[in-house]
């Protein structure tokens, strides 16, 4: 018993649990906002208006074409440099996840809506539903089901991306692990446990998603 409680594998845990809370918080809040952005820009990418389509395309391409590390530094340092307003690290992290994931989710939304057979829209319109009703009651529910696997995948990606925020000293999982081995010089044990903590979230998610995917296939 004494052996276990003395072990660094064990003693690092309070740090990591605190880090995990921040990691999950940034991921969840960031992704909820990212989903809203993604839905808006995803529909914009389906718009017949060239202007709306153009704006959404610029957003998607700029975000997807630049590294998320540059994005977080841009949001945290770049914007405060420009505006003189300082935002706190957690807010900056949440914005970074939202803006980054939003672009990928926009493509998920666009692809899912686009994949629904045009006959569905025609059937909806032919019984007298308006465009919006057809989208809301016919297209969107079907599209949303198809979005679940790629959204889950995006959750895993964004969760791992939060580790990059250690560069601005956000107290997330990886950063807390680094803090621990900075004090104890037990890098191997601390980082092993950091990885275990990520895996505890990501592996069950992946397994669950594969099951959903198989069910959607039939």
């Amino acid at each position: 018993m004494e052996f276990i409680t003395e072990s660094h594998y064990f003693r690092v845990m309070p740090f990591l649990l605190e880090g995990l809370v921040w990691t999950l918080l940034i991921t969840f809040v960031g992704l909820i906002l990212g989903f809203i952005l993604g839905a808006i820009f995803g529909f914009a990418r389906l718009s017949k208006s060239k202007l709306i389509y153009g704006i959404a395309t610029v957003y998607v391409e700029v975000v997807r074409g630049t590294p998320i590390l540059a994005q977080i530094l841009f949001i945290y340092f770049g914007l405060s440099d420009l505006t003189g307003i300082n935002i706190d690290k957690i807010t900056a992290s949440i914005i970074a996840i939202a803006v980054n994931a939003g672009a990928y989710i926009a493509e998920i939304v666009r692809g899912a809506v686009y994949s629904i057979d045009t006959g569905q829209e025609e059937a909806g319109r032919s019984i007298g539903l308006t465009r919006n009703q057809t989208m809301r009651y016919i297209i969107w529910p079907q599209a949303f089901r198809r979005m679940i696997p790629p959204l889950g995948n995006q959750f895993v990606i964004s969760l791992k991306d939060t580790s990059l925020f250690s560069v601005i000293a956000v107290g997330e999982l990886l950063y807390m692990g680094q803090q621990y081995y900075g004090m104890t010089f037990q890098a191997f044990q601390a980082l092993t446990m950091v990885c275990v903590m990520y895996l505890v979230i990501t592996v069950p998610t992946a397994v669950y998603l594969r099951r959903v995917e198989r069910r959607l296939d039939v």
Partner: protein, 240 residues
Amino acid sequence: MITVKDLHKSFGSNEVLKGINAEIKEKEVVCVIGPSGSGKSTFLRCLNLLEEVTSGDVLIQGENLTDPKININDVRSRVGMVFQHFNLFPHMTVMDNITIGPIKVKGMKKTEAEKIAHPLLEKVGLSDKAVAYPESLSGGQKQRVAIARSLAMEPSIMLFDEPTSALDPELVGDVLAVMKDLAQEGMTMVVVTHEMGFAREVGDRVLFMDEGIIMEEDVPERLFGNPQNPRTQEFLSKVL
């Protein structure tokens, strides 16, 4: 009931309908036949504006569909459409497929809408399938649900675009029987079909379309028995 005047429809530079004139009276059953690509589906789809009309007029119960001020959702709710591939809503039960129109378009309560749906399900012979999902139905059953879904809006006109073409031969009969009942009840129907037997038996009039125009039209006995236009003769010699 339906008046079509000099209807033209182009997709880009491809002119598909080249001046269609037609008059469909109340309670009439008009069958449209013709070779593939002749514009039959396009013509039908112009009758409820699933395709935008390039030029000409389409009048439904006196209302001109090409009038930009027209409420197209309202017109569509009075013109039912049945598709070759059924296009049922796969995420809804049979009952929900049928009631969504009355609920969302007419603002009916769910229970009211279901009161309309039950006799319709009975009419198409699927009373036991109300809570089933489309994926568990055969093609013929799906098409009958699709017909019930259109009827739930209590349309005054029904359009059918090759309603039996995607069905296994043994399932065709049930769908045609439902359509025949509808015709006998006095529904105004426009039916694009390859079922010459149905056209001959149920149709009041048959339109033969080719290359974007109506080449010949007549009562079934004469059009099938003694076609005048050489194109009609050629087409019928292939399909009969």
